[in-house]
C-alpha cells in the first residue's frame, strides 16, 4: 500500500502523535479512572497501524526499529518481575507497594508498583498487536 500523498502523510503524523499521547494518558489514568495498560496498549498500536497504512512496512520498521517479539517478551518479564517483588520481600506473590511522593513539576504523586505491572501489560499488548498485524500485512 504505497502512496505518495503528502497531505495524508502529514495528517497521519499529526494523528499518530495525538493518538499516541492519548494512549499514554489513558494508560496512566488507569488506576483511578477508566483506562489502563490494555486499552493504552491497543490505542498505541492503532497509532502505529495508522503509520503502517500510510507507509509500507519497511519504512515503518526503519522509523521504529523494534522487534515486537522481544517487546512482548520484555513486557512479560516486566510484569512477572513486578509480581515477583513480593516474593523476594517475604510476602506473597503479587504483593504491590505504593506510596505518595512529591515529584517536581507534577506535584504529589502516588507511585505504585502496579504501574510497573501495567507497563508490562502495555508492552505486551503493543508487541502482540503489531506482531499480528505485521505478519498478516507482510505476507504476500
Amino acid at each position: 500500500m504505497k502512496t505518495n500523498d503528502v497531505i495524508l502523510k502529514t495528517t497521519s503524523h499529526v494523528v499518530f502523535f495525538i493518538i499516541f499521547l492519548f494512549s499514554i494518558h489513558v494508560f496512566l489514568a488507569g488506576h483511578f479512572a477508566p483506562g489502563g495498560g490494555f486499552v493504552g496498549g491497543l490505542l498505541t498500536s492503532s497509532a502505529i497501524v495508522l503509520l503502517l497504512l500510510v507507509y509500507d512496512i519497511k519504512t515503518v520498521q526503519k522509523l521504529l526499529p523494534i522487534n515486537y517479539t522481544i517487546m512482548t517478551a520484555s513486557g512479560l518479564v516486566l510484569a512477572l518481575g513486578t509480581a515477583s517483588i513480593g516474593m523476594f520481600m517475604g510476602k506473597p506473590f503479587f504483593k504491590h507497594y505504593f506510596d505518595h511522593f512529591y515529584l517536581p513539576l507534577i506535584g504529589d504523586t502516588e507511585l505504585h508498583t502496579a504501574m510497573l505491572f501495567d507497563t508490562g501489560v502495555y508492552l505486551v499488548v503493543v508487541g502482540v498487536t503489531l506482531t499480528i498485524i505485521q505478519s498478516i500485512g507482510g505476507d504476500d
Binding site: 488506576h31 489502563g36 486499552v39 517479539t69 517478551a73 513486557g75 510484569a79 504491590h96
Partner: protein, 804 residues
Amino acid sequence: MVQVLFIFIPIIAAIFIPVLFKKVRGIHTGWFVLIVPVVLAAIYASYISRVMHGEAIVSKVNWVPSLDISFISYIDGLSLLFSLLITGIGALVVLYSIFYLDRTREQLHNFYVYLLMFMSAMLGVVQSDHLISLYLFWELTSISSFLLIGYWYDRDRSRFGALKSMMITVFGGLMMLGGFILLSIMGGTYSIRELIAQAPTLATHDWFTLSLVLILLGAFTKSAQFPFYIWLPDAMEAPTPVSAYLHSATMVKAGIYLVARLTPIYASSETWVWLVMGVGLFTLFWGSFFAVKQTDLKGILAFSTVSQLGLIMSLLGAGAVAFHVDQAQDTVFKFAAFAAIFHLINHATFKGSLFMIAGIVDHETGTRDIRKLGGLMSLMPISFTVAAIGSFSMAGIPPFNGFLSKEMFLTSMLAIKDFNLFAMDTWGAIFPIVAWIASVFTFVYSFYFVFKTFTGKYKPELLPKKAHEAPIGMLISPIILASLVLIIFFIPNIIGDVFVKPAVLAIQPFLYDSVSAIPIHVSAWHGFNTELFMTIGIFVVGFLLFLTIPKWQKLYNIVPDWLSLNRLYDRFMTFLDKDLNFISKLYMTGSIRNYLVYMFSFIVVITISTLFVKDAFSFSMEGTAPIHVYEIILILVLIISTMTVLFSKSRLTAIIALGAVGYSVALFFVIFNAPDLALTQLVIETVSVALFLLAFYHLPKLSRHEERIRFRLNNFIISLGVGVMVTLVALSAQSQKLVPSITEYYKETVNTLAGGGNIVNVILVDYRGFDTLFEITVLSIAGMAILGMIQLRLSRKENEHENK
C-alpha cells in the same frame, strides 16, 4: 521369606540367559537352563516329608503393604504337588528341548527366557496364598504362553494362536480378578487361608454367587473348558516342548488348581457343584468326541487334553458334593477329590510323554499329519513303545496308571445318580452315561493316535524327511515319563499317601482332621461291580469303533463348519477388525458440523432436563434493574445487527454487521456503568474488524453453498435449543442469588489498602493481577503462534519436495 524367593529363581535366572546365549555359543543354552528346574525340584522334594503329614509352610514378602498386597508362599499338599509337577516336568521338558531345538538356528535366548518366566509364574500361581499375587502370576502365565506360542512369529498361525490364547485366557483372568476382589471385600482379606476359615459366613453374602461365577470363568478359560477350549488347539503352534509343558502338564491345570484350592469356600454352593461338574463332564465328552476328527497329531492330543481336563474338573465338582453329605468320609464321594488329583498326576505323565512323542515324530518325519503317517513302528521302536504305554494309560487299560484313576472316576459318577440334593436324583443318571460315552471316545482316540501313526502302511513318499528313530537324548524324557506311567500303577498307594492325600486335605479340609484320616486305598481289583462292567464295555465298544473309524468319521462333516465355536471367535475378531471400523466411521465422519450437532444436542438435552428434573427453573423479577426505553432500542439494534450477520450474503456486510454487534455491546457496557469495558470493547472491536478485513482480503466471497432446507432446519433447531438453554439457566441463576457477592470488600479497601480508585483496574492489576499476568501471556502466545503460522510453511516444502 526365602521360600517366596524360590518362586523368583527362574525369572532371575532368565536375566542371564541372553548373555549366556551370546557369549557361550558352543554349549546349548538349554543345559544352563536345566539347572534351574532340577535344583528347584530338589528343593521342593525336600519339603515332602513335612508336608505329607499335613503341615503347611508359609513365607511372606511384602509388595505393597499399605494396600495389604504381598507375596505369600503357602505350601501345603496341593501346592507342593503342583510345584513338583512344574519343576519336575519342567526339567524333563528342558532336557527334551535341548535336542529338539537347534542351537544355531533358533532364537534360544528368547525361548528359554519365556520358559523360565513361565516357570516362575506357574510356581507363583500354585503357591500364592494372596489373591492379588495369585492373579499377578496368573496373568504372567498367559503372557509367557502368548510369547511361547508366538515364538515362531513369522508364521501366521503362530501369531493367530498366540493372540487367541491370550485373549481368551486374559479375559478369564480379568473376570477372575473381579471375583477375587468381590471375595476379598466379602471376607475383608486377600488371604485364601483366612477366607477359607470364614467360608460359612461368606456363603450368605449377596455377591457370593457372582464371585463364584467370575472365578470359574477364570478357571474354565485357563483349563480350556467348554466353550473356552478353542484356544488350546491353536496353541499347538508353539514348539512341542512348550505344548508338552504348558498346554498339557502345567498351565492348563492352573484352572484345576484354582477350583481345587477354592473348593472349601465355594463347595457349599449348588451353582458351583453344577457348573464345575456339568461343564467338566460336557468338556470331557466334547473333547473326546472331536479328538477323533483331528488329523494333526498334536491336534488329537490337544483335544484329548481338553477332554481330560474336563474329566478332572468334573471330579472336583463331584468332590464338592462331599460337602453336602453327612459323614462324607464313609461315602463314595470321598473318592472324587482323590481321583481328581490322582488323575491329574497320571495325566501329566502320560500326556507329557505323548506330546514328546508327537514332537519326535514331527522332528524325524517332518510332518504331524496323521494321514501321511503310518508304519513307523519298525523304524522307531522306542518311540512306539512309549507312545503305546501313554495311549493305553490314557485309554484306561491296565496295567497303566490311567486305568486306576479312570475306575475311580466312574465310581464317582455312578455315585452322583443316587445323590438326592440339587435335583440330582432326576438328572443324575446323565452323569454316568455321559462319562461312559466319553470314555469310549477316549479309548478310540488313544488307539487312533498310536496305531494310525505307528502301524499300517509306511508311506515314505508323503513324508518330507526320511524317518528314523530319534536321538537318545530326545527319548530320555518320554521314557522317564512312560516308566512313571507303569510304576504308578504298581505303587498307587505310595503316591496316594505322599502326594495325593495331602492335596485332598487341602481341598476338603473340613472333612478330615489329618492326612492319615483319609480312608482311601487304591486297588486295581475291587471285585465284579458296575465300574468293571462299564470298563469292559468301554474296551469292547471302543475297539469296535476304532476299527470302523473310516466308516463313521464322515459324521463330523454333518455339523457345518460355520457353526463351530472357532468360527464364532473368528467372526468376533473380524467384527472387531472390519465391522467396528465401519461402525466407527458412521459417526466419526470427520465433519466438524456433525460433531457439533451431536455435542450441542447432548448439551442442550442434558442441561434442560436437569433444569426441570431438579426443579431448578425459577423466574423472578425481584431485584432486577428497571427497563429504560434506550435499552430497548439498543437491544433492537443488537438483534437487527445479529440478524444481518445471519442473513447477509456478502462477507463485507457480515463483518461490518459483526462490528455493529460489537459496538452495541460496547454501548451496553456504557449503559450498565462499565466504562473500562466500553472503552476496551470499542478499541478492540475496531482492531478486530480491521483484522477480519485484512485476513479475508485474500479469501473468496462467502460461498453460496446451496444448503438444503432440512440442513438449515436442523441447524435452526439445535441453535434454538442452545439459545433457550442459555436463557433459561440465566433466568434461573439470576433469580436465585442465594449468597451475597464478595464485591463489597473491594469498595472498602480499594483506596486504603490498594491505593487506587478505579476498582476494575485495581482488580485487574492487584486483587486479581494474576489473571492479568496470564491473560497477557495468552496474547503473547497468540502472537507467537500467528508469527509461526505465517512464516513456517512445511506443507509448501512438502509440495516442493514432491514436485522434484
